[in-house]
Amino acid sequence: MATAVHLDGITKRFPGVVANDDVDLEVEHGTVHALLGENGAGKTTLMNVLYGLYEPTSGTVRLDGEPRTFDSPRDAIDAGVGMIHQHFMLVDPMTVTENVTLGSEPRKWGGLAVDRAAAREAVVELADRYGFDVDPDARIEDVSVGEQQRVEILKALYRGADTLILDEPTAVLTPQEVEELFAVLAELTAQGKTIIFITHKLGEAMRAADEVSVLRDGKKVGTVDADGTTREELAELMVGREVLLDVEREPAQTGEVVAAASDVVVEDDRGVRAVDGISFEVRAGEVFGIAGVDGNGQTELVEALTGLGVPDEGEIRFRDEDVTTASRRERIEAGMAYIPEDRQERGLVMEFGLVENGLLGSQHGPELGPNGRIDWPATRDHAEAIIDEYDVRPADADADAESLSGGNQQKFIVGREFKRDPEFVVASHPTRGVDVGSIEFIHERLLELRRQGVAVLLVSSKLEEVQGLSDRMGVVYEGEFIDVVDPEETTEEELGLLMAGERPGGGGDETGATDETDPEATPSDVTGGERA
């Protein structure tokens, strides 16, 4: 087999950062090559170099042995390289056909009209050739994420791509859609296409790829044959040390119920039940974890709990009071702290300095905003205390939030929320996109709160995080708790099945998988755990 893509000594520097350090990569024609690594390992940067989005600081890109320089993605597309980004480049109100042919529409009447029949025909033909299930006339906004992804792939194929780069293609997919994607990838390679697929999930890399290259800290640490490797080997390559997260955790000293949700239903904009009847209780001194693949209703549930959204049905109680319709401010004042999922959108006002950001949520409180007047000296002291205690760097209270790194932004938010002396903390993906040092720091602080008798709700798609920190955990799938389990008594495999919608006791979901789960995994000490 010939080499389709050859990256030779690619180095890419950003100011103060080496994103790729002398990376070599060879991908054979007609194969799937997984690019594996943790967040921040430099995978996407490397592929952006190949796709012409970045110019490498040094190194060469060769396609079929020919050295190439791409000034823009257009050059890359012309050379037969297509990239499917995590954020799809699709025009929502336009149809599948219109999106696939955008910019290269077949014309008629001397170019005065789009030949719509020919365009549709071309799309149908392409879809048939690769066995894609897409409706050429559906609008993008009306089709599933999986179908949108297939449209993106069709777009690249329509433009004559021989090499396809997929950036974290499974992050937004349901398990069934992941299966469909892998089938698509197999069909594409069978017909001679070359695929590079970026992931941080080693199971997927092993399953879908022929070869796996592992990146760590911007360097390539190895390329292995997918069939000849083990999970352990890949994990070690990825992490480069013993896996951490064996958090020291004494048994929970649980008190009374602090927060409770019962039969909460939240509908999204389209009237689909994003949260479909979830119930749970969180007690003082315990961490209740919610695990699940992103997009299974976690965001909507958290918003309903914290007052950013209103549930369509059900009840939310906090300290024995019905707060279902209480405002966000009322909940803050009642002692609910919240580490939001999106720190740059919600958690911080990016163009404000840290002093003003430390005030966010406390501006009407008695300490910093007594009688509607802001006590600026006290607010500054408050921000400086957060910076000091939570090791925020640079230690400059006047720095704008946007000038901080992600980890330091997150530490500042965590500090601000924890310093409210909350009774209940909702932590939504508290360590997403955060460096390792900050992750450990945030985890320790969460457990410290638990020791102090605070009730913690932890939502994360990092399984090891939820499992390592929680006393009980609910596994969410399509807006429902598939099960509520004791994390110490449940294996990763069992959790994996639950996250894929496989109900314990064999009550199989649409996936139709047959594996029976261990009956012991059914909830034993669940308080208020909801089973559908």
Binding site: K12, F14, P15, V17, A19, N39, G40, A41, G42, K43, T44, T45, N48, L53, E55, Q86, A171, H200, K201, L202, D217, R231, A235, A291, V293, D294, L308, R328, R329, I332, D342, E345, R346, G347, V349, M350, E351, E356, L360, G361, Q363, G369, G372, R373, I374, D400, S405, G406, N408, Q409, R432, G433, V434, D435, S461, K462, L463, E464, E492, G496
Partner: protein
């Protein structure tokens, strides 16, 4: 990213953060507008006809209008010719201060809404409503009091009436935006037309002054008008009103910077999602900011009635629209509004001087106003001019990388979940 790119980025970040840049840009916009205005005057001077004696010659070409004279009259004339001796506070200078006073209020009105992220084009309408309400309210109340006591009671009363009705009228688009999601740019423009129409109806009907041919209300008694202090009353300017205006600047600055409400407003203005997260009631903040903004517009109307006209007459000058210019020029900063209002006060007052001294049409000032806004709206243009760096005039958005050996970096946020293994 090349070294030039990085340099440009660094410079951008530097200048974006600095307040001096705002001042520089505003000044540059003004200078550029004046220069373009001069060109316009020259061109217009070629298009009209005049005798050879009246013409002025530049580079051997004759022009009917002389931009130097125009801008000399516009600026120095507006200040009452301080350089030529014989300056009196009762002259053109007090006209300038009168205009400044009114523009202070409309400018603050627009600025407050802007800070909340709302584009209030309706200050004009809110001013009309405030003015009409003040004229009617004070006229009614003036039958109960008189003399100095009357002045002391009626002036605050009139301002209050103007603020209340302007505020209520401002709350309308606020509620439409907050609860019906109606775009405030459009609703406020429509409400301007409605305010003018209804005012015309009322003033030509029920509230019409029977002794006047014009569509106006019965004039207020002298004691119900702002007293002229230091400045003679001839130019309808009152230092008291200006003091009110300066007080309003201080008050608005305090509200924005030192109160929880101001914090809510500013946070909503720059990042509404974060404001919501921080417990800000988005709907209430929208309504409250627009009501307050309308109240300031209403006060401008009250000032106009009680200081300038002494009655409500249809065809209120476009102080509300000028307020938009003032606010934009001031970077929506209350303190900056003070300076910008003085500047536009000079322009407006100078217009009449220009009209007396030259044949140049007064609409020139309207063009200048538009040009200033246009230039202030494009800071990028000045950045390019200032740096003289060739190439595209745009800074690339922070690129989403997935980092490498980064110390965090707000970079991996977009990465999906990591549920496997």
């Amino acid at each position: 990213m090349s070294a030039a790119d990085r340099l440009r980025d660094a410079l951008d970040r530097l200048v974006e953060a600095s307040a001096t840049e705002r001042i520089l840009i505003s000044t540059a916009a003004l200078v550029l507008s004046v220069l373009l205005g001069a060109v316009l005057v020259l061109v217009a001077g070629r298009m009209t006809t005049c005798t050879a004696g009246e013409a002025v010659y530049y580079l051997g070409v004759g022009f009917c209008y002389d931009p130097v004279v125009v801008f000399d009259r516009l600026f120095l004339g507006a200040l009452g010719d301080p350089l030529s001796g014989g300056w009196s506070p009762d002259g053109q200078f007090s006209v300038t201060l009168r205009e400044t006073t009114l523009l202070l209020f409309t400018g603050l009105s627009v600025a407050l809404a802007f800070r909340a992220g709302i584009f209030n084009i309706g200050t004009q309408g809110q001013m009309v409503v405030g003015a009409l309400a003040t004229a009617i309210g004070v006229l009614w109340a003036s039958s109960f009091v008189s003399g100095t006591v009357g002045t002391v009671v009626l002036i605050p009363f009139g301002v209050l009436v103007g603020a209340t009705f302007g505020g209520l009228y401002g709350a309308v688009p606020g509620m439409l935006k907050a609860y019906a999601d109606a775009n405030e740019v459009i609703t406020t423009i429509m409400l301007n037309f409605i305010a003018t129409g209804v005012a015309l109806y009322l003033v030509s009907g029920v509230f019409k002054d029977p002794n006047s041919a014009a569509n106006q209300t019965v004039p207020l008694p002298e004691f119900a008008r702002f007293p002229a202090v230091l400045f003679g009353g001839r130019q309808d300017f009152s230092l008291v009103a200006l003091a009110f205006g300066l007080l309003a600047i201080g008050a608005l600055y305090y509200v924005l910077e030192h109160t929880a409400f101001g914090y809510d407003v500013r946070t909503s203005g720059v990042q509404p999602e974060a404001a919501e997260y921080g417990g800000v009631d988005a709907e209430r903040t929208v309504v409250a900011s627009l009501a307050l903004s309308g109240a300031l517009g209403g006060v401008a109307g009250a000032m106009y009635v009680m200081m300038v006209l002494g009655t409500f007459q249809t065809g209120i000058p476009s102080y509300g629209f000028d307020g938009i210019t003032v606010s934009i020029l001031a970077g929506n900063n209350p303190l900056g509004v003070g300076v910008a209002a003085l500047l536009f006060g000079v322009l407006k007052s100078g217009t009449t001087v220009v009209q007396f001294a030259t044949d140049v049409p007064p609409q020139l000032v309207g063009v200048l106003r538009g040009l200033v806004i246009l230039f202030v709206a494009m800071p990028e243009f000045f950045r390019m001019l200032a740096k003289g760096l060739p190439g595209r005039g745009s800074r690339r958005e922070a690129v989403a990388t997935d980092g490498g050996a980064v110390t965090g970096g707000g970079v991996a946020d977009d990465e999906g979940g990591e549920a496997d293994e």
